[in-house]
């Protein structure tokens, strides 16, 4: 052995071997490090948004407040650091609760985003005067960071302290349900036809090539399709969950077809032949035997396809789903937005407090997507038959 290694030519070749191996390993490490850095960065940026500064203040529900002078609800000293959006909502609140007029309560109220950023030690533009005030209040325990419920219970807002993801989440659910409703049946039907019934002719081969090509077309072009066909030709309302769902279902269709075909193909012929042998018709063989056996595989592929649709933004921007939506849509024909589009809109906001909320929204989106993928993997491992 030592003889071989003492040969300089061989030593050189072994060194090359080691270098090559290290390079390969390095590539993997690079990708994994990026992943770690990526998640660490997003989590460190988004985590603080789960907390929100609030202040204990005396709120007087006077008649003047009900009649529109909402600024009078809070003591003058504190007025400037209380969220204006919160104050502005007071008259409406009092109209719904007339029995409160004339009373005074002490409660925790939302403060402006600058105070929030100051308390978290982030860069902010709070004036020194108010910084002192906040410090004093904090010493008295009248200012604190609490769990940010507004982020999950409110829609979009121009004021970062009041902006939340609720309307985007509702929009995402609508769009995904519609996508599922359109693309799942059509996708599975297509796969069944191509796998079980289709004759082998030019037309069918054309369909197959076509599906493979569709799977590789950039998603933005599906947006152009949605704009030209669904909105301009069929008259589906712009920005609505319906047009978003239709566009995304066309985009998801090839993914579902391809994975469903793989799942159907994996069911052994013996099952088919046995069913036909005892007198089942071709459709009965598919419906009673092959489809149930292929279902875990089909579901896995569909979940992965839907997860992709859920993270998709570009086609939805083109069909107008990046609108400013403060209230959750109540029908599929109303203007709606989705979580990725909300992330996109917030990225364009210059205020730093929005960057924090964007990261938090990203964390929510990634958590949902990763758990969807985990469910898909779990389904595959626990229900898929190994033949």
């Amino acid at each position: 052995m030592n003889d071989i290694l003492s040969n300089p030519a061989i030593r050189k070749r072994y060194a090359t071997e080691k270098r090559f191996r290290a390079m390969c390993f390095g590539a993997v490490v690079f990708a994994l490090l990026f992943l770690v850095f990526f998640f660490a960065d997003l989590i460190s940026k988004g985590w603080p948004a789960l907390q929100q500064a609030e202040m204990q203040a005396e709120v007087s529900y006077s008649e003047a407040v009900r009649d529109g002078k909402y600024r009078l609800a809070v003591d003058k000293r504190l007025r400037k650091i209380v969220s204006r959006g919160w104050l502005r909502a007071l008259p409406l609140y009092l109209e719904d609760h007339p029995e409160l007029v004339g009373t005074t309560t002490t409660k925790w109220v939302v403060v402006i985003a600058e105070v929030d950023q100051y308390l978290k030690g982030h860069p902010n533009k709070l004036k020194p005067k108010y910084k002192k005030l906040v410090d004093e209040l904090q010493a008295d325990g009248k200012v604190q960071l609490a769990f940010n419920t507004y982020f999950f219970t409110r829609g979009d807002s121009k004021m970062p302290e009041l902006a939340g993801i609720k309307s985007a989440v509702v929009g995402t659910i609508y769009v995904l349900l519609l996508t599922m409703l359109f693309s799942l049946p059509v996708g599975i039907m297509t796969a069944i036809y191509l796998e079980e019934f289709a004759p082998d002719n030019h037309f069918i081969r054309f369909i197959e090539v076509n599906i493979n090509n569709l799977a590789a077309i950039p998603s933005i072009l599906f947006g152009l399709l949605g704009l030209a066909i669904f909105i301009n030709f069929f008259g589906v309302p712009r920005s609505s969950a319906l047009v978003g769902g239709l566009t995304l279902s066309l985009m998801t269709l090839p993914v579902i077809i391809i994975s469903a075909r793989v799942a159907l193909e994996a069911v052994p012929d013996s099952i088919r032949e046995a069913a036909l042998g005892v007198g089942a018709s071709p459709w009965q063989a598919v419906w009673h035997h092959i489809l149930p056996l292929a279902m875990p595989g089909i579901l896995t592929g569909s979940i992965i396809g839907l997860a992709r649709a859920m993270g998709e933004t570009a086609p939805l921007i083109i069909v107008g789903m990046v609108a400013f939506i403060p209230d959750a849509p109540s029908s599929i024909l109303e203007a709606a937005t989705v979580l990725p589009a909300q992330i996109y809109t917030w990225t364009g906001e210059p205020l730093r407090a929005f960057a924090e909320r964007t990261s938090a929204a990203i964390l929510v989106l990634l958590a949902v997507l990763l758990s969807l993928n985990a469910v898909a993997i779990w389904l595959r491992q626990h229900f898929e038959h190994k033949w």
Partner: protein, 413 residues
């Protein structure tokens, strides 16, 4: 009266009626003259009745919506519903009359099912036709206003005054809008090239590590880990590129005495490269695994090291597949939208310097369609012109790579 409403009425009205028809059909079949056994199971007769009910009603509403869409005639809603009910009742009556124990209900229903399946599979064709037609049609509009040749060879993209022409004030002495797409394509290729410079080596070496060096266990968790990179939404990558990577690059360039714009081409390029690593690594991994083990064994038996075997035997054998994977990745990168929209800037810029901001085809498409100009202005329509080029480009890349992969598979399988 929108199409969506029509669809809603069909589904809400037809389901309960179909259930009744199903019950009627089964009952009719079972109550047939005793002694004769049924040809099919009773449910099939129920389905015959459902088909009898639904087919004419759906056909009528489809024709009505077609008339409405083409603008020929809008059928009033009450009339449509009445017509649907009458036709459905007629169809149901015919179906019930036809039902008798000897009717081959199973064959009939399955023929219908087969037709439905066939119709479902043509939807993908209609999608392709829809994409091609919508883009081509509007792109032709655009090329009527802006010469195709000017579009392909022009080096100035300055569409800001396009709305004047749209408003009929084209001749007011303001500089003409220019739609020269060269800087846009240059930006696209620059960012794609940066992405490929990151993705190709990292993806290929990762694939080699996974298929040649890693143990089975390592590989089984490494591959899903890398695929997480492909599962992250592009809007998240865009945010990451704009908020984290871009400032890092600006600082880095500053420390080296260079000037980098905040929306440089490098940040989106690098992040996009990372995004497509799994495309290359997964596909190349499959390709490398398809290379027969005998080739490796033969080479190793001659005394080569593993690295020499990989470089001289395995990689050349797998080359077509790797090239195809790279082409697929390029087509992915060219069509990628959100990362560049959020991090690459809007300014068409013909330069070799990746530290400057430049724009891409997809950015201009988004920008043109989210602007406030009328739909028939050249600026809005330019999105379709650019979309057409993008479509043709990705189709060519896909077709080449798919055929290369297929030939590669035929060679070794």
């Amino acid at each position: 009266m929108s199409t969506a409403n029509i669809l809603f009425i069909i589904t809400a009205g037809i389901f309960p009626l179909a259930f009744i028809a199903y019950r009627l059909g089964t009952k009719k079949a079972l109550s047939g003259n005793g002694g004769v056994s049924l040809h099919s199971r009773p449910g099939y007769y129920g389905w015959v009745a459902v088909v009898g009910l639904c087919f004419p009603a759906i056909a009528a509403s489809l024709i009505a919506s077609l008339l409405h869409l083409t603008g020929l005639y809008t059928v009033p809603l009450p009339m449509l519903i009445t017509a649907g009910l009458i036709l459905g009742a007629g169809g149901l009556w015919l179906a019930l009359r036809a039902i008798n124990p000897e009717l081959r209900a199973r064959n009939f229903v399955e023929a219908i099912i087969k037709w439905l399946l066939l119709i479902a599979s043509t939807i993908s064709i209609f999608t392709t036709i829809g994409i091609v037609a919508s883009i081509l049609f509007e792109a032709l509009h655009f090329f009527n206003m802006v010469g195709f040749w000017d579009f392909i060879t022009g080096t100035e993209w300055d569409p800001d005054t396009a709305f004047l022409a749209g408003a009929g004030r084209g001749a007011e002495g303001v500089a003409q809008a220019q739609f020269g797409s060269v800087p846009i394509f240059a930006g696209t290729f620059m960012i794609t090239a940066i992405a490929m410079l990151v993705a190709a080596p990292v993806g290929l070496f990762s694939a080699i590590f996974m298929s040649e060096y890693a143990s089975h266990r390592v590989r089984s968790w490494l591959k899903p880990m890398l695929e997480v990179l492909a599962g992250i939404p592009t809007v998240v990558y865009g945010f990451f590129a704009a908020i984290t990577i871009s400032p890092m690059i600006v600082n880095l360039a500053e420390s080296m005495g260079l000037y980098a714009e905040a929306t440089n081409a490098l940040a989106p390029g690098i992040v996009m490269g990372v995004m497509i690593i799994p495309f290359i690594s997964s596909l190349s991994d499959d390709v490398l695994n398809a290379v027969p083990q005998e080739l490796r064994d033969g080479s190793l038996a001659l005394g080569t090291t593993k690295a020499e075997t990989i470089r001289n035997i395995v990689l050349p054998a797998a080359l077509p597949g790797i090239v195809a994977a790279t082409l697929l990745a390029v087509s992915r990168a060219v069509g990628e939208t959100m990362i560049v929209v959020m991090a690459a800037g809007l300014r068409p810029n013909l330069t070799w310097n990746p530290l400057e901001g430049m724009t891409t085809v997809t950015v201009r498409i988004i920008d043109a369609l989210t602007g406030d100009q009328a739909f028939d202005s050249p600026l809005t329509l330019s999105a379709f012109g650019l979309g057409l080029v993008l479509l043709v480009l990705t189709l060519i890349l896909n077709i080449i790579s798919i055929s290369v992969i297929r030939r590669f598979r035929l060679k070794y399988e």
